[in-house]
Chain length 415, copies 2
């Protein structure tokens, strides 16, 4: 009965998927391709409000992916939309930047503790690639150390896939294990005197694995080894920025990067990314040639300016940490009630939930399919995202759906 209802309400989605298959390779690209998700996930969406999302068949979800990160304050946040609209009435893509670029740059430099300067782009990948280019320009060195399995973008030098990538695209990458000081030392020693940068995610958020927060010893080792080699520490904040800590995710660790890459949440869904840097990299940043047709777009900057003001005023990281902890505690209690063992990892603002004894993710898929049917959009393998528009009532709804999800898993695959 429930199954046939779901079949019915996926008609628009199925029709659009069929049309998309003809004109878009595989029907959709990259991380947003729903073919990689359990079968009940919709591919196409209609609209969003706050922390809620509707698919094209009219199904409503309490959404814990938040557009895979960009939705930080809630869809259609009034202050962000008003600022964007005000700038839109003036102009967006002109022959150069508008005044708002300076206002935003000043606020970013004031907000991010390590930042002496900033530059703006469109994609997270633009920001990480710019960081690497600036580090090489400043140091005159080539090697880039990255953690095994870490995601830093979707172009040949860093793509998680090697399809269409040449060996030379990764010639100067060297790998270490996140939170493993010995492996980092090994990678540093292996690279000799040719290290331009150590790239590190704010925390280890590899998909399908338990997440790991950095230890303070590890963060300090990154800083110490980079300093010893005259290399830059590049903190990849694309996924974490403005969710973990307003001044930078490593602020509580007391460790400062030299360059940080920001995107996703920075303009609450408007396309923008940013690099922040320390003074010793300023000259190199002015010498590299990085640009894009829309990088001076003023509307996304006005949106970012409004977003960062709200983040600071409302202490958004604290607010969503509290809501995330409420979700986490509720999931823990309810999973135990059904005799199920789950592992919750990562910061509370960006929860990852994995089932024990679930190598093929069958339990996770069954759980998420079941919560979807109850109007809650979780992800079975990827870190999720809270947003400031989520309410305690949303968390309560999510926990009720989770109860149904755990019951489904307990029935079909008893622990």
């Amino acid at each position: 009965m429930e199954f046939s209802m779901l079949e019915l309400v996926r008609m628009q989605d199925a029709a659009l998927r069929a049309r998309a298959q003809k004109v878009v390779p595989g029907g959709m690209w990259g991380h947003l391709n729903a073919a990689k998700l359990p079968d009940r996930y919709p591919q196409f969406f209609s609209h969003g409000e706050g922390g809620l999302l509707w698919d094209v068949d009219g199904n409503r979800y309490v959404d814990f992916m938040c557009s895979w990160g960009p939705n930080l304050l809630g869809h259609k946040h009034p202050e962000v939309e008003e600022a964007a609209e005000r700038q839109r009435r003036m102009g967006d893509c002109l022959n150069g930047p508008a005044e708002v670029m300076v206002e935003l740059a000043e606020l970013v430099v004031d907000t991010i503790s390590h930042a002496d300067w900033t530059m703006f782009q469109k994609n997270g990948t633009d920001a990480t690639t710019t960081c690497v280019t600036v580090a090489r320009a400043a140091t005159g060195k080539r090697k880039i150390l990255v953690a095994k399995g870490a995601y830093h973008g979707a172009v040949p030098w860093c793509s998680p896939s090697l399809i269409g990538v040449t060996a030379e695209d990764r010639a100067h990458l060297a790998y270490y294990t996140f939170n493993d000081i010995e492996s980092l030392e090994g990678a540093v020693n292996g690279a000799g005197d040719d290290i331009a940068a150590i790239v590190v995610s704010a925390y280890r958020h590899d998909m399908s694995f338990d997440q790991e927060l950095p230890t303070q010893d590890f963060a300090r080792a990154v800083r110490r080894l980079a300093d010893a080699k005259g290399a830059a520490v590049i903190l990849d904040e694309v996924r974490t920025g403005f969710r973990l800590h307003t001044a930078g995710s490593w602020e509580p660790l007391g460790v400062s990067p030299d360059l940080s890459a920001w995107s996703k949440a920075i303009a609450n869904g408007y396309a923008l990314s940013a690099v922040t840097g320390s003074d010793w990299l300023r000259k190199a940043a002015s010498q590299v040639f990085v640009t894009g047709s829309f990088w001076a777009g003023a509307v996304s900057m006005a949106a970012a300016l409004a977003t960062l003001k709200v983040v600071r005023r409302d202490n958004v990281p604290d607010k969503i940490a509290r809501l995330g902890q409420m979700l986490r505690d509720g999931l823990e209690t309810r999973s135990r009630q059904f005799g199920l063992s789950i592992r919750q990892s990562g910061p509370a603002q960006m929860p990852t939930v994995l089932f024990d004894d679930d190598a093929d993710f069958a339990k996770g898929y069954a759980f998420c399919n079941a919560t979807l049917a109850k109007g809650v959009y979780f992800h079975p393998r990827h870190n999720m995202f809270l947003c400031a528009a989520h309410t305690e009532a949303d968390i309560a709804d999510a926990l009720e759906a989770a109860e149904h999800g755990f019951a489904t898993v307990a029935k079909t695959a008893p622990n």
Copy 2:
């Protein structure tokens, strides 16, 4: 007198430049850095209407840079803005694409003659890089042939600058000379059986040089040599798309590419780029991992859908070609009146104007400074852009300003 007036009306711009110097390396990045232009060019802009542009000091310009390409139909085009606003009220950046992605993909495939499929990104560089990655994935080969001096983006594999770039980033590039079949054959033979693609601009639009339209023989040779090697022809339409010909810039030559990269004008200023491809590359395009946080953004797609409908309905390339020819003819007549010899090259829709005997661009700079003072924004070295909002009255204004510009050049540097 005129000089001191201009000094006065640059106060806002000067103040913003001073503030920007503190928080943005060099005050501005990339192609939009006004420090690379003659001294009277403003850095900061306030607003745009149609083909007109205002700087932050309230100076009004008839604008022939058109945001360096994106402004195709005119700033704030009512049909584009209405479509964008309608989509914005629904949603922009969601957990996946909206219906408009399919509508746009269908229209792109219907519009671009060679296209069997399409994918969307944000930057022109995203599109060219995706083309290269898809070509390598499809062919299993590595070498990419590019014309010497051609601009295909601003990341290490293709950046016009080598600062921060390693030798390995360009390891598999081989170079030919645009319109030179012999050099192309040489490059093809040099690359042996390892050619993934020949990348070619729709025409040669290298900055500071006379522009060259492709000869039909050259275009056919590109196609023939790629076919002989099983390589893809990648047409870079980022700068030219929807200005030269609605169905693709090489349509009048009767030569079809396998992949094309689009951006700039495709959404009339909204941040969007696209790759179009032929069927034999569809599978590879579905296998490569390319993605971005905002690539499914529905508002820019709604803007592109409206833009392409207007381009088709109004035959925008023809309209702006006619206006561009009017400008070109007028500049020719007026330069002669002042005994000055100029070279006008490139398509009329994207004019380049260079002075004879002007190796240091002193004449071009003096000319452009003088027209700026009269409210006309030309570029002394780069190709310019017409837009569909330009009127015959704008062209008349531009020619009057040009007269002043030529008079200034004739006075200070008589030919």
